[in-house]
């Protein structure tokens, strides 16, 4: 919708509450509200405009403007513009209305605001702590008056109390937070009746590192490295999302060759992780041969990554203003050869998996996430697309070189493990053709532009389709080459609750493969 028209409509509908509106960087529209009451406007945007609430986050602006701000990021299908509604939360009465009852997708995000900023979500159906554990003292680390070097006293008091599962023959099976194998910590509390799972309770945020606070401390060019380590397997996606945000705020024009290179590397990251996931899903049903081949394929790509980026996991390649190094003709040729070999071998891997009836039997009808539940929970990425959620940032808000590439977004309605794997297989094929197309261009031009001083007090939103799904970075620049605020949203944050729904009614022995089919990041969630 045209911005002026929208503003007119909103003003006639909501009167003085809607104070002003302006567009930034072409596709971010900010609407400033005069009071915290977000409910009516959200209802209108979600109801009549069919907008989707992408993210909710807060900012402490007490020192400058005397209030906290809550930001509600919306997107509309078919519109590349993000609609960002800003509502003030008075410092004297830090409360805002909760949307979680109607919109479970923001459940954890509102509770994060409670924990980190000390703003109360009024009417939240389950206002217990989520981001800071129950034994934390009463502090709100993302407030500006909380120094980053604060040393907290040793934590005491009650750990999280899980809801009891009662009934004859109902048993509580605790798993984690420390798991077998090299994975990150998270606690899963299953209520089981024999083998079938009745109910699963999750506890995350064991690896909370205060990343968003750390961003406010580092010089911007160093913060790129921090962005790369938000979630180890999505280094390049998070790094790119962060650099894009800075580039938008400082109005830096990235050379087109660098955009193409970023696109290639983003797709390489997707390929590596998707093929590893396909193998891991096969392992979890005991079909280890498929994993052996998937690991081999992943290794082929990692070796190519090293030649292209100097790092197997693509770290240290993206930088503000482009990419850190150019590609010679031999590197482009190497990429082409690697992709050709990968394509052949990947076809064999898919054939191997399809030929194994016993694997298919295990994966079909296992861990079904129904589309309507996925919609309520705001599931994004692979898990969403397997359950009928047709979202892909590359198509909906094109960045890097995606607007020049043609690709299909695979969407299935079934939502079982088999289809989550199928989405990955389809996306691998799309990625291959995208890399081929992008690498056929001549990439000998400029790959990086000099970065001017970053102007203070600029806001920018950046979205990237990481291999897991939609990654959102929102920044406000500060003085002295620092950031005032950096909000990070990893797709895992939305998607963890999907696991709770998907496992219900399945047997506990199938949990690992259902979990693997989502393969969510602990570190990205916990930050």
């Amino acid at each position: 919708m045209n911005l002026a028209t929208l503003f007119g409509t909103l003003q006639t509908k909501f009167g003085k509450q809607v104070e002003s509106m302006h567009a930034e960087h072409g596709d971010e529209a900010y609407i400033f509200l005069g009071d915290p009451n977000i409910r009516p406007i959200t209802e209108y945007l979600r109801g009549e405009l069919q907008a989707r609430l992408v993210s909710v986050f807060a900012e402490d602006r007490r020192s400058r403007e005397g209030v906290f701000f809550n930001y509600y990021v919306f997107e509309q299908r078919g519109d590349t513009q993000f609609l960002i509604v800003r509502a003030p939360v008075p410092a004297a009465d830090p409360r805002f209305p909760s949307l979680s009852a109607e919109l479970p997708a923001v459940n954890w995000q509102e509770r994060e605001i409670q924990d980190w900023f000390g703003l109360t979500a009024v009417g939240h159906p389950n206002p217990r702590r989520v981001a800071l554990h129950d034994n934390w003292p009463d502090v709100h680390p993302l407030r500006k008056d909380f120094p980053i070097d604060t040393v907290l006293p040793p934590f005491e008091g009650e750990r999280h109390i899980y809801r009891p599962a009662l009934g004859e023959g109902v048993l509580q099976v605790p798993v984690g937070p420390v798991h077998a194998g090299t994975i990150e910590p998270g606690h899963f509390s299953f209520a089981v009746a024999g083998e079938p799972i009745l109910y699963l309770q999750l506890r995350m945020f064991y690896t909370h590192k205060g990343t968003e606070k750390l961003f406010e401390k580092l010089p911007i060019h160093k913060a790129v490295f921090l962005a790369e380590s938000i979630s180890g397997d999505s280094s390049f996606s998070h790094g790119t999302a962060f650099c894009q945000a800075i580039e938008r705020a400082a109005e830096i024009e990235v050379p087109s060759d660098a955009l193409i290179m970023r696109t290639v590397l983003l797709e390489l990251e997707r390929l590596c992780n998707h093929v590893a996931d396909i193998g891991a899903i096969a392992t979890d049903v005991g079909f280890v041969v498929a994993n052996a081949h998937a690991s081999r394929l992943k290794e082929m790509l990692l070796a190519a990554n090293e030649q292209l980026a100097g790092n197997r996991l693509l770290r240290g390649m993206v930088c503000i203003g482009g990419v850190r190094r150019a590609w010679g003709a031999w590197q482009v040729e190497l990429l082409r050869v690697a992709i050709d070999a990968f394509t052949r071998e990947f076809r064999d891997l898919v054939a191997l998996i399809n030929s194994s009836e016993s694997t298919r039997d295990r994966l079909e009808h296992t861990g079904i996430l129904k589309p309507e539940i996925a919609r309520d929970l705001g599931i994004v990425g692979v898990g969403g697309r397997a359950s009928g959620i047709d979202l892909d940032v590359r198509r909906d808000h094109p960045y890097a070189a995606y607007r020049h590439l043609s690709f299909k977004v695979p969407v299935y309605q079934v939502g079982d493990v088999w289809h989550r794997m199928q989405v990955r297989i389809d996306e691998v094929q799309e990625s291959i053709s995208m890399i081929r197309e992008a690498a056929s261009r001549n990439l000998s031009g400029q790959f990086r532009v000099p970065v001017p001083p970053i102007p203070p007090n600029r806001c920018a939103l950046s979205a990237v389709e990481g291999w897991r799904g939609e990654i959102i970075h929102w920044i406000r620049t500060g003085s002295d080459n620092r950031l005032e605020r950096c909000k990070i949203k990893d797709p895992s944050l939305n998607n963890w609750p999907a696991l709770v729904e998907a496992v219900q009614g399945n047997i506990i022995a199938d949990f690992p493969v259902i979990n693997k089919s989502f393969n969510l990041s602990y570190s990205g969630t916990d930050r």
Partner: protein, 313 residues
């Protein structure tokens, strides 16, 4: 008396040494088929050696059952090992009805293993024990039926007698009843040794484990005893399969020349059977847990058909 003792000692040494070797060979073959190098066939020996020297962590909640279980599991497996013909048709021991004792001694070991899993009160142990019992409830009768088929054709439940009768008509395994019984017993072997498609011996996922879940609380020498016992049990079942159906090379006496020839044949047959197991494990995914009883029901029906066809043909 002394003769029995000498035979028992020889066979016991053979059992203790060959059992980890078979496990090592299976693991190495699997690794090769997965394009891995694998840790080598000597790894089970090194593991046992390492575990035997380590200290133990015993949960506070554990009772005497927890401590008795490793000895019972190891002891029953070794005892059963002395009752089956390995290289010679005469087994060192023949106790209470031969093959029936074999089945029930193995069941005793399994019973205590399940108790040991439950004893500590850990939820994974409980899961493992309940799964193990579900599976063995069908695996056991299937095994009995298959073995009875062989016993019927030998007119004896004494394993040495069965082996002698098999040697005397060495092409008998081509009879329909024998083929059916062999197939049934092969499925039981897969289930009893915790292999894909029934259980995954290499998984790290506690929630999917059967056999391994019962062992999670064990460590050090106790774990070594159970692991060793499990590999002896595997060897016993494999021996039962190769020697009662394919008695080639079984020595009819305990003379050195006969025994060494018998040993070569025996190891070759084990190697072939190990290859079959590895192929099944590599080409299949693990079954859904609730599908496992269906597979074992197939073994049961094969056993039943085998028994019936003994009277028909």
């Amino acid at each position: 008396m002394i003769e029995v003792l000498v035979k028992s000692v020889i066979q016991l040494i053979l059992l203790l040494l060959v059992a980890p070797l078979v496990t090592g060979i299976i693991r190495t073959l699997k690794a090769r088929l997965q394009t891995r190098r694998g840790p080598g066939i000597g790894q089970p020996y090194r593991d046992l050696f390492k575990l035997l020297r380590k200290g133990m962590v015993i949960p506070n909640t554990a009772s005497w059952i927890f401590s008795a279980t490793p000895y019972i599991v190891f002891g029953t497996a070794a005892l059963v090992g002395l009752m089956i013909p390995m290289t010679a048709t005469d087994a060192p021991l023949s106790l209470f009805g031969g093959v029936l004792a074999v089945v029930y001694l193995l069941a005793l070991g399994r019973f205590f293993l399940a108790l040991g899993g439950l004893d500590t009160g850990s939820s994974f142990g409980g899961l493992g024990s309940s799964r193990e019992m579900t599976i063995s409830a069908i695996a056991e009768p299937a095994m009995m039926l298959a073995i009875f088929t062989v016993a019927l054709s030998a007119n004896s439940t004494n394993l040495s007698e069965m082996a002698r009768s098999a040697v005397s008509q060495s092409w008998r395994f081509l009879a329909p009843s024998q083929i059916l019984a062999f197939s049934g017993l092969f499925i039981v072997l897969i289930a009893e040794t915790g292999r894909i498609p029934v259980d995954n011996p290499a998984t790290h996922l506690e929630l999917t484990m059967i056999h391994e879940a019962m062992l999670l609380e064990y460590s050090g020498p106790y774990l070594a005893l159970i692991e060793w016992g499990a590999s002896i049990k595997q060897l016993v079942l494999m021996t039962l399969l190769v020697n009662t159906f394919f008695p080639f090379g079984l020595s009819s006496s305990w003379m050195v020349s006969g025994l060494s020839l018998g040993l070569v044949f025996y190891l070759l047959k084990l190697l072939l059977l190990a290859c079959c197991i590895v192929l099944v494990e590599t080409t299949n995914a693990k079954l859904r847990l609730f599908r496992v009883p269906e597979l074992l029901a197939v073994a049961f029906i094969l056993g039943a058909l085998a028994l019936i066809s003994t009277f028909l043909f």
